[in-house]
């Protein structure tokens, strides 16, 4: 296999505990991530699962460098971006995109849909940003008539399509999707997942998909890592992990959603 797009080595993150009582000095640090090591190969679709509080969103925010790790290294394309300054990151920003969980909060309510999609392109010096943004509206199956609308005029699914267009419009190498369907109803979830599948295949994207919903992960991701309390408890091919979980936590996580399936017939008993 070729060299991986993202290499994560012994990643640690600790944040100041603002709730801790203290009289003087800086707040004590609480560890969130404890030594994570994994690779994301080019073209991979990696699922990151875990219960809430397991650190999956925090890990995601480290990967796109919204947070600065306190230990370990992250290599993007061989370049160390672990502690890169905003100035150094600028060159990599185009390749590290993110789709947020809640588009109502992550799309600026005062920017039109067109601007939301065209602004990232403009910032990276892409010519004809407006025309390309309109093309993106077609690609995410929204249609050009949405160009002049504002986020509050859209439904949840439409908003998330704008979020996707905004990230994908830069044709990044890596996209992080953080719980992007958890706020949507089931049929809309399926449409969004299908769209993401389509774009990943068409545009050769490398995707990390954070979710607590194992059925979505099973459908979308070929590899998966299972997080618990900031540590990787299991990693590998999705099919393998779900058919034969090696760690009891994975099995528990899986059974927590698959219960009715496993206990088929419980109504009759």
């Amino acid at each position: 296999m070729a060299d991986p797009l993202l290499q994560v080595r012994d990643l640690h993150l600790a944040l100041p505990d603002l709730n801790a009582p203290r009289l003087f000095g800086p707040a004590p640090q609480v560890g969130i991530l404890h030594g994570l090591t994994f690779d994301i190969p080019r073209g991979a679709t990696l699922g990151i699962v875990g219960e809430s509080g397991s650190g999956k969103s925090t890990l995601g925010r480290c990967l796109v460098r919204l947070l600065e790790p306190t230990g370990g290294t992250i290599l993007l394309n061989g370049d160390d971006i672990t502690h890169a300054s905003p100035r150094d990151l600028a060159a990599h920003r185009r390749d590290l995109q993110m789709i947020f969980q809640d588009p109502m909060s992550s799309l600026n309510p005062r920017h039109s849909v067109l601007r939301l999609i065209a602004d990232p392109m403009r910032l990276h010096g892409i010519q004809d940003a407006d025309a390309k943004a309109r093309d993106m509206l077609d690609r995410v199956h929204l249609g050009r008539r949405f160009a002049d609308r504002y986020p509050h005029q859209l439904s949840g699914g439409q908003r998330q399509r704008v979020g996707i267009a905004r990230a994908v419009g830069l044709s990044p190498r890596f996209i992080l999707a953080d719980e992007i369907v958890s706020g949507l109803d089931v049929s809309t979830q399926a449409q969004i997942i299908r769209l993401l599948e389509e774009l990943v295949a068409d545009m050769d994207l490398t995707l990390a998909f954070i979710s607590h919903d194992l059925s979505v992960i099973r459908r979308l991701c070929r590899e998966v890592i299972v997080l618990r309390a900031g540590q990787i408890v299991e990693a590998g091919a999705t099919s393998k992990i779900f058919s034969a979980p090696a760690h009891p936590y994975t099995a528990a996580l899986q059974s927590s959603i698959a219960l009715p399936e496993l206990d088929e017939g419980w109504l009759l008993s």
Partner: protein, 271 residues
């Protein structure tokens, strides 16, 4: 809708009166005529034609003085309100967005500033700066910027926690660019409402300073000055006091209502 039109209508009348004062005013606002002193307004018996709102104790036409007074009131409202808004919201935006030391320093300055009693502070400032229109404007701006700084800081802080700011980082916007292009548009409606309130407050403060004779020279008609003069005549010519008070009341109310109404109208999120 109604309040936008009503308040906008009154403000439009004021603006027109202020701009075209020399052409509209029926009399010279400074011309005294002791034979015509304390004439009542037209709706009271004994009024003299041509003196629609009556005359004061020196026989000066109240309406003409009101019209010329509107000039001072509006100049103070716009310039003092604008200067306070500029200083206060710049500091508030920076403190709320950058946090840390910037925030601590601005926060402390605000705390110190707000512990001065505002009217005494204004009087003190004018006493130091000397009377005159520009020192009144300066004094109001120096005192009232904290009103903007406090509210804009809090609003900016709340906005900065939204995911669209994180999203701006991800798409590669600079910090300052994020503040200007993403946060500022979301703070603007609040700023607009504050600005309109502040214009009303500036008119009141100017009137207070005129009342204690610390505004511009007493030759120039101001509403506050007229209220101060009217006070001494309240038993003989109540209109000299009442007319500028009503105008002051309507103007301050109109500024705040116009700001609120305009915010609802131009805000895409509320529309």
């Amino acid at each position: 809708m109604v309040r936008l039109w009503l308040s906008g209508g009154w403000l439009a009348i004021l603006v027109l009166a202020a701009i075209f004062a020399p052409w509209i005013a029926p009399h010279d606002p400074l011309a005294q005529d002791l034979f015509l002193e304390r004439l009542p307004p037209v709706w009271i018996d004994g009024a003299e034609p041509g003196y629609y709102l009556g005359t004061d104790s020196l026989g000066r036409d109240v309406l003409s003085r009101m019209i010329y007074g509107a000039r001072i009131a509006l100049i103070v409202a716009v310039l003092a309100g604008g200067a306070a808004a500029l200083i206060g919201s710049t500091l508030g935006l920076l403190a709320g967005f950058y946090g840390g030391w910037t925030d601590r320093i601005v926060g402390r300055i605000i705390d110190i500033w707000m512990s001065f009693p505002p009217v005494l502070f204004a009087i003190l400032l004018v006493a130091v700066l000397g009377t005159g229109l520009h020192s009144v404007i300066l004094a109001i701006a120096i005192i009232d910027w904290t009103r903007f700084a406090r509210v804009i800081r809090a609003e900016t802080m709340a906005q900065s926690r939204m995911d669209y700011v994180a999203s701006a980082v991800v798409i590669g916007r600079s910090r300052l660019g994020t503040l200007a292009a993403e946060v500022l548009p979301n703070v603007l409606p609040t700023l607009l409402v504050l600005f309109s309130l502040e214009m009303g407050i500036a008119v009141i403060v100017e009137a207070i300073l005129s009342f204690v004779n610390l505004s511009i020279s007493s030759d120039d008609p101001t509403w506050g000055g007229m209220i101060a003069e009217g006070r001494t005549q309240i038993h003989f010519a109540p209109w000299v006091l009442v007319v500028p008070m009503v105008a002051l009341f309507l103007t301050v109310l109109s500024f705040s209502q116009f700001g609120e109404g305009l915010k609802d109208r131009i805000d895409p999120v509320l529309r």
